[in-house]
């Protein structure tokens, strides 16, 4: 089974980058495996479909803001995001929409898609560092995701 791991975020917007940090940690852990590809995506939207095609499984890691304790890890299935398919996004396309589009186009989209989201504290300040509470959770979260994956 071939897996693609995609860290999503902006590397210059503080905690928005937490998915990229976790992906980098996972890239080190999986460096010797040729059945796992780790990517960083700072654009999202349609490019997530381009990242997904050709893999059996996709693991997406992004930031989220729910009001929970910063650094909290959430796990979602694609279905959890599906209600947003039917919302006319004024700008941009979300993961569930582009994957469904790919499916209808007959592209080889992954059968299994898991989404991890890390609670962010600040995604609006320009900066290349995570806030301390979120930063301290990067390694434990990478550890947890790696354990759940295999």
């Amino acid at each position: 089974m071939k897996t693609v791991v995609v860290g999503v975020g902006s590397s210059v917007l503080t905690d928005d980058a937490v998915g990229l940090f976790v992906a980098r940690s996972l890239a080190e852990r999986f460096a010797s495996r040729d059945d796992v590809e780790v990517l960083e995506n700072e654009e999202a939207g349609f490019t997530l479909l381009e990242d997904a095609v050709g893999y059996d499984r996709m693991v997406v890691i992004d930031s989220i803001m729910t009001g929970a304790e910063p650094g909290t890890l959430f796990r979602f299935a694609l279905e959890d995001l599906e209600e947003t398919i039917h919302a006319g996004a004024p700008h941009g396309l979300n993961l569930a929409t582009v994957i469904e589009f790919g499916r209808r186009q007959g592209l080889a989209v992954p059968r299994e898609i898991v989404i991890y989201a890390v609670e962010a504290e600040d995604t609006l300040t320009l900066g290349e560092e995570l806030t301390p509470r979120v930063a301290s959770r990067v390694e434990p979260i990478a550890e947890e995701i790696a354990a759940e994956m295999f």
């Binding site: 902006s10 700072e42 654009e43 930031s63 039917h86 919302a87 996004a89 700008h91 609006l124």
Partner: protein, 490 residues
């Protein structure tokens, strides 16, 4: 162990990405505001960095139009170092830039804007999305869009050095030239892009122009604002995306101002409102008269339709014919109908494609001279391009080592912010009477947003991956009477 929760997309929008409509004592609209997230600390973030980093940093601010930021930053560096790139380098930059405009416009028309025209504004909510568009125009069209976009993006990737955030722009030129293999491939891609442009215009004619209801909708008074318009033009006043003079026309289409990008602060000022982070630009010479249109108000608009209005025409043949048809249908130039932005986007897509062909036909694009090395000390520079969503300004000041001391960006959407407010207020006034909110309000607000395609939330990517619109209708005392959003709330 991680736990599962249901995402409530509204939670991450507290305090921004929100539209607030205030009613007066009679239950009619008093004011409509929209609030957007503010990116904090850009100047501070930039200060103390080498200016060469700016073309690599600024594209990361936005996940949608990185190439526009890259190119504006690169041109700001040219100005900062007082260096003129060799013609080959300019042609290569233009090739990258027109490829980018083409793919961004294609994405918007088919996948983001399409729901309002291809599917129809009255279609049920569940079909007003890209999946509804493809269901209507056919899967093969979807496939064609994806394939075309992939090939055009390949021009950006091959020359830009990276898929998403190009790194090719340098002060005085670019980092690599074209190879013979690239020439062959890009020439074929450019020809196909022109076919795709014609195909898209035909599709628009068939699906939209042959449907009287749609034409009435576009040509009607909905979201019609008689504002000033701004856009870059070449020396014949034709639309140009990459470079030129900034031209402003008044609501009757007469030239009001024409100036070099470096002089932008002489012409544009920004008005601040306490309820929004966004600053509202206006024409200094006219003045700020509030969110109102007409020749007395300094509000101007940017982006596709504004660029067409601010020009004397298109720079290429098929695009010019499409331009003429647009104005004929809408009753002359300038056109003030916001929904015509979608149509203008296709006219521009066609020009971008035809320009790709012209650039590939120019023998000098294969030249070896791709960089003029800067020899002067840097001090201050302004770089301007037409981003898909409008005029984009980058302005940097440095010390003599090239370390940034001050940076100012006026991003495309900000220019359109007053117009967006006016469109929202117009929709609200039409659909809220005596305290009763018509069901169509959210759709009408959405349509205004989609026409401008504003770029507020592209700065952060946090889940759910898109900015839901939240509309709150408040009474005179500030109590929330209604809350609308596209999401199903439990």
């Amino acid at each position: 162990m991680s736990k599962r929760i249901t995402i409530d997309p509204i939670t991450r929008l507290e305090g921004h990405g929100k539209i607030e409509i205030f009613l007066d004592k009679n239950g009619d609209v008093a004011n409509a505001y929209f609030q957007v997230p503010e990116l904090r600390g850009f100047e501070k973030f930039s200060e103390g960095r080498m200016c060469e980093e700016m073309p690599r940093i600024t594209p990361k601010i936005c996940g949608v139009c990185p190439t526009a930021h890259h190119m504006a930053a690169t041109k700001a560096l040219d100005a900062l170092y007082h260096v003129t790139p060799p013609r080959t380098a300019i042609l290569i930059r233009e090739l990258i830039y027109n490829a980018f405009m083409f793919e961004d416009h294609a994405l918007h028309f088919y996948f983001l804007g399409g729901p309002d025209f291809v599917v129809g504004p009255d279609a049920p909510k569940a079909e007003r999305n890209v999946l509804g568009v493809i269901a209507k125009v056919g899967l093969e069209v979807g496939g064609r869009v994806i394939e075309m976009r992939r090939r055009v993006r390949n021009i950006i990737t091959s020359l830009g050095g990276r898929v998403i955030h190009p790194v090719c722009g340098l002060p005085g030129g670019v980092s690599r030239g074209l190879t013979e293999e690239m020439k062959e491939e890009f020439t074929a891609t450019a020809a196909e892009a022109v076919d795709f442009g014609k195909f898209s215009l035909d599709l628009f004619a068939k699906v939209v122009l042959e449907n009287k209801d749609y034409v009435d909708l576009i040509a009607g008074d909905i979201y019609k604002h008689k504002t000033y318009y701004m856009g870059l033009v070449d020396d014949e006043n034709r639309v140009n995306f990459y470079d030129g003079m900034i031209r402003v026309v008044d609501p009757d289409g007469n030239e009001f101002a024409k100036f070099a990008p470096a002089d932008y602060l002489d012409h544009i000022a920004e008005h601040v409102e306490p309820w929004s982070y966004i600053k509202f630009p206006y024409l200094k010479a006219v003045g700020w008269k509030g969110f109102t249109d007409g020749p007395e108000s300094g509000v101007y608009r940017v982006a596709p339709l504004a660029r067409l209005n601010a020009s004397d025409g298109m720079a290429t043949e098929t695009a010019q014919a499409a331009h003429d048809q647009l104005y004929e249908t809408l009753g002359g130039k300038p056109a003030h109908n916001t929904l015509a932005y979608h149509w203008a986007r296709l006219v521009e897509l066609t020009q971008a494609a035809e320009r790709l062909v012209e650039l590939m036909d120019d023998p000098e694009i294969m030249g070896d001279d791709i960089r003029t090395l800067p020899t002067e000390k840097p001090d201050e520079g302004v770089g301007v391009v037409e981003a898909p969503r409008g005029t984009l300004f980058h302005h940097y000041k440095t010390d003599e080592r090239g370390v940034i001391t001050q940076a100012n960006l006026v991003v495309a959407t900000v220019n359109n912010a007053p117009g967006i407010c006016m469109s929202i207020e117009g929709a609200a006034r039409g659909l809220i009477k005596g305290g009763k909110v018509n069901d169509g309000l959210l759709n009408m607000v959405e349509m205004a947003f989609r026409a401008y395609d504003p770029c507020f939330a592209c700065a952060t990517h946090s889940l759910p991956g898109q900015m839901p619109l939240v509309v709150e209708v408040k009474g005179p005392d500030g109590e929330v009477l209604e809350r609308l959003s596209q999401f199903v709330e439990d």
